[in-house]
């Protein structure tokens, strides 16, 4: 027997009879099912489209968080700048210089409808490609024919509507300039241009993604690969529609 040291009390020596396997979380048997990919991949070495779709959707969720942060910070700038009084040297008093903008309401309403319809057609494209991906294995069975796949051109319609929305927004800016509201006319007009342009840039990114999805269709990529591109873009597109409703409401309510 050796003497008991103070250090043994702080950090007692471990003996083989008490097999503590460390504070770095010991091994559990069997492996818990929540560990990464386990259980979901069979031993096949083929690219797993289900896993790739899940991964792409997860990436998209992260991307939506990012875009949301951009618009949240723009909104907070909007709210702060709107409520801010400014000291006027002439009247020696604090005045609000937020100003007003005559928005082209009808035009913006039409644009909103166009974008919402495009969201519906996008959902059509997403469901269409999901159905095709589900039927793909059936096609390989000899003697089975699903007939000519000539569905409604959902994707092309969405691209056209998306470009129509952008053209409509551009027209709205032209209309604003015609009414004498430029980007530096007053803080209100600055924010109108800023928020609509920020949304338009993000939507344009969605159109690029849709064109890319269209190109993969032309290049005869497997239907599953196309499905991933279209599915993720569809969710992004719906997010863009919601984001536009938000921007529009902000501009309309907090004038």
């Amino acid at each position: 027997m050796r003497d008991i040291l103070a250090s043994d009390v702080i950090m007692p020596t471990l003996t083989p009879k008490t097999p503590t396997t460390g504070l770095g979380r010991g091994g559990d048997v069997p492996s818990p099912p929540d560990g990464g990919d386990d259980g979901r991949f069979p031993d096949s070495n083929l690219p797993d489209y289900g896993a790739r779709l899940r991964r792409a959707r997860l990436g998209l969720i992260c991307g939506i968080f990012t875009v949301s942060m951009v618009f949240i910070s723009l909104t907070s700038a909007y709210v702060v700048r709107r409520g801010l009084p400014t000291f006027d040297n002439l009247s020696q008093a604090y005045v609000r210089d937020w100003g007003s903008v005559q928005l082209p309401w009808l035009l913006l309403a039409i644009n909103t409808v166009i974008l919402l319809v495009s969201s519906i057609t996008m959902e059509g494209a997403r469901r269409d490609i999901t159905r095709r991906a589900a039927l793909a294995p059936v096609k390989s069975i000899p003697g089975i024919s699903l007939g000519e796949e000539r569905g409604f051109p959902w994707l092309a319609t969405t691209i056209v509507l998306g470009m129509g929305f952008l053209a409509g927004q551009f027209t709205a800016w032209m209309e604003l300039e015609a009414r004498g509201f430029f980007v530096n006319t007053n803080p209100n007009s600055s924010f109108v241009y800023l928020l609509t342009a920020a949304h338009a840039v993000h939507l344009a990114g969605g159109i690029v993604a849709l064109l890319w999805a269209g190109i993969t269709a032309v290049r005869q990529k497997p239907v599953e690969a196309r499905r991933i591109a279209i599915d993720v873009t569809a969710w992004y597109w719906h997010f863009m529609a919601v984001l536009w409703l938000y921007v529009f409401a902000l501009l309309a309510i907090m004038k």
Binding site: G22, G36, L58, A198
Partner: protein
């Protein structure tokens, strides 16, 4: 269908360009990030050397910049801060080591989105080139400091360097934001979705946790900086008035009115404070990893370490106002920000005590990575202790804009994070390049750097308490500041010696990469997955095998085990917990 022999998403590339330049391999991209940051750190360090020389010898004509005018000094200061924070502290720990080792440590063949990964590196590279180009345009680099406060940063005529130079500066930051957002997205998806069988979240090495939490911070913070930067660009170039009130420059009224400089400060620091943790968290992760490995003991309180990092990340978003105590903030807000700031002391103390607990009674192997990890803890404590001082609004009013602040953030954010990177370099270069680094010169480098950085930054605290203001280019004209000049002299000599010692590091690094002794697969006898594969790892990381994880990451000194450590892939050692 594809006939690839492995689950790896892309085949090994053949040509030089696909293999080494526009590579999709996370390992090559990690090395690219590493060398980008190494280049940037030399640029940033050279700028700091020029500043230190000028502070002690104000009339000296210096190489490359000639005579240093006050505006030259300010542009050196701006570019030093910006390059160091964005292209070194944010780039190397996360983009460099994170990119290389996150997929290997969780048992994945690559990042979740390899093409996006390549894009984020090259976008970062473009941002760096744009940032450097600000030196060479008319008027030179901007003067507004890395924080870019308007109206100085928002008015083209505010000074030399505030023209095209400042536009390039903001443009570079915006490009960098996009690159970081792409990187963060990739890190999060990889960590959540690419873990090997058995690699539960609570079995991840603490390095992976730190990269994961850093990515969350980046994802939420860089978007805010991006919007703030766009508003600033509009104020500068489109005549809007988001930030700029009615200002008069050289007797001339600018077109702006009614904007709020404080709006920029809020948006900037909402990004800026999490950015501090983006820089330091990966250092904490690698320090935990190395302390455990070289003490041959499990990390003390693994779960507490994870939750402490999460708490630091969470609180990091709530304390931005402590940078703005001097801005006329309501005392009630200042109180809230002050309390929340001091709350960060709690998880930080948990981490520090756990690091000490890890070393306690360990059979410590004092290799160079271990020395740097201990140095990290030392700097984290001494830099951190001045934090609660600055978190007091009352004390901050005295200490604001003095060298006390400079000393504080250089120790905790600058040098501590750099020590984390040094530790990671000495620890992982054997795996990355297959060669061991020289141990003797590593130690020489460590001791000179440790003593040198303390000699540079500790006196700054005294200087600040004595009233030494920061950001001034010359202190010789003011009577009370003249008495402080010997301290400046001491710091300048210390800086010259410390910077000279960094040549030891780069020579050691490059010599070792080409001529060092060959490293075995597991030279440090560590347990995590990167040490189970070949050195350097094959293209798909594990040579066609998908690792299966049975154990936690820090099983050292396991009683009854054949060796004194159990690899994560070894058969399970029993459910003791």
């Amino acid at each position: 269908m594809a006939t690839s022999a492995t689950t790896h998403a892309h085949a090994a590339p053949q040509g030089f360009i696909r293999k080494y330049i526009f590579s999709l391999d996370h390992k090559v991209i990690g090395i690219q990030y590493f060398f980008l940051a190494l280049t940037a750190v030399w640029v940033g360090m050279f700028l700091s050397l020029l500043m230190r020389l000028h502070l002690y010898w104000p009339n000296a004509v210096l190489p490359l910049v000639g005579e240093i005018k006050p505006e030259t000094y300010l542009s050196l200061l701006t570019m030093h801060g910006t390059i160091m924070i964005f292209f070194v502290l944010t780039t190397a720990p996360q983009g460099g080591f994170g990119n290389y080792f996150l997929p290997i440590q969780i048992g994945a063949p690559d990042m979740a989105f390899p093409v996006l990964n390549m894009l984020s590196f090259w976008t970062t590279f473009v941002a760096f080139v744009v940032m450097l180009s600000a030196f060479f345009v008319t008027g030179g680099a901007p003067l507004h400091g890395w924080t870019g406060y308007p109206p100085l940063s928002a008015v083209q005529q505010a000074g030399p360097g505030e023209g095209l130079g400042a536009d390039l500066w903001i443009g570079s930051i915006a490009i960098f934001c996009i690159a970081s957002l792409m990187g963060a997205l990739n890190f999060l998806t990889t960590t959540l979705d690419m873990r090997a069988k058995g690699m539960t979240l609570m079995r991840m090495p603490l390095t992976c946790w730190s990269w994961f939490i850093t990515a969350i911070l980046g994802l939420l913070a860089f978007g805010v900086l991006l919007s703030a930067g766009i508003l600033l660009l509009m104020d500068r170039n489109l005549g809007t008035s988001f930030y700029v009130p009615l200002v008069v420059v050289n007797g001339q009224i600018m077109g702006h009115k009614g904007g709020s400089p404080l709006l920029w400060q809020h948006l900037f620091w909402f990004f800026g404070h999490p950015e501090v943790y983006i820089a330091i968290l990966p250092g904490m992760g690698v320090t935990s990893q190395i302390l455990s490995t070289f003490s041959r003991k499990p990390i003390f309180g693994y779960k507490a370490m994870v939750y402490a990092m999460l708490a630091i990340g969470f609180l990091g978003f709530m304390v931005w106002g402590h940078h703005m105590f001097m801005s006329g903030m309501s005392p009630y807000s200042a109180f809230a920000f002050s309390i929340l700031t001091m709350c960060i002391g709690v998880p930080s103390a948990i981490k520090t005590f756990n690091w000490l607990g890890t070393m306690l009674h360990g059979r410590i192997r004092f290799k160079t990575p271990m020395l740097y990890a201990i140095g990290f803890v030392s700097l984290f404590v001494s830099g951190g202790l001045s934090g609660p001082f600055l978190a007091q609004p009352v004390l901050d009013i005295q200490l604001h804009d003095t060298y006390f602040v400079v000393g504080h953030f250089h120790l905790i954010m600058g040098v501590a994070a750099i020590f984390g990177m040094f530790a990671a370099t000495y620890y992982w270069v054997p795996k990355m390049f297959g060669r061991m680094m020289n141990e003797f010169w590593g130690r020489v480098h460590f001791f000179i750097t440790l003593i040198g950085t303390y000699a540079i930054f500790m006196p700054m605290h005294y200087l600040g308490i004595a009233g030494g203001t920061r950001r001034y280019s010359q202190y010789t004209e003011v009577a009370y500041m003249q008495k402080l000049m010997p301290i400046h002299g001491f710091m300048t000599y210390a800086a010259i010696i410390t910077i000279a010692a960094q040549f030891i590091f780069v020579i050691n690094l490059f010599w070792s990469i080409f001529k060092g002794p060959k490293a075995s697969d597991n030279p440090w006898e560590a347990t995590t997955l990167e040490w189970t594969t070949a050195t350097p790892p094959p293209h798909d990381n594990f040579g066609g095998v998908t690792p299966v994880v049975h154990n936690g990451p820090y099983e050292y000194g396991v009683p009854g085990a054949a060796r004194d450590y159990v690899m994560q892939t070894d058969p399970a050692i029993g459910a003791a917990h």
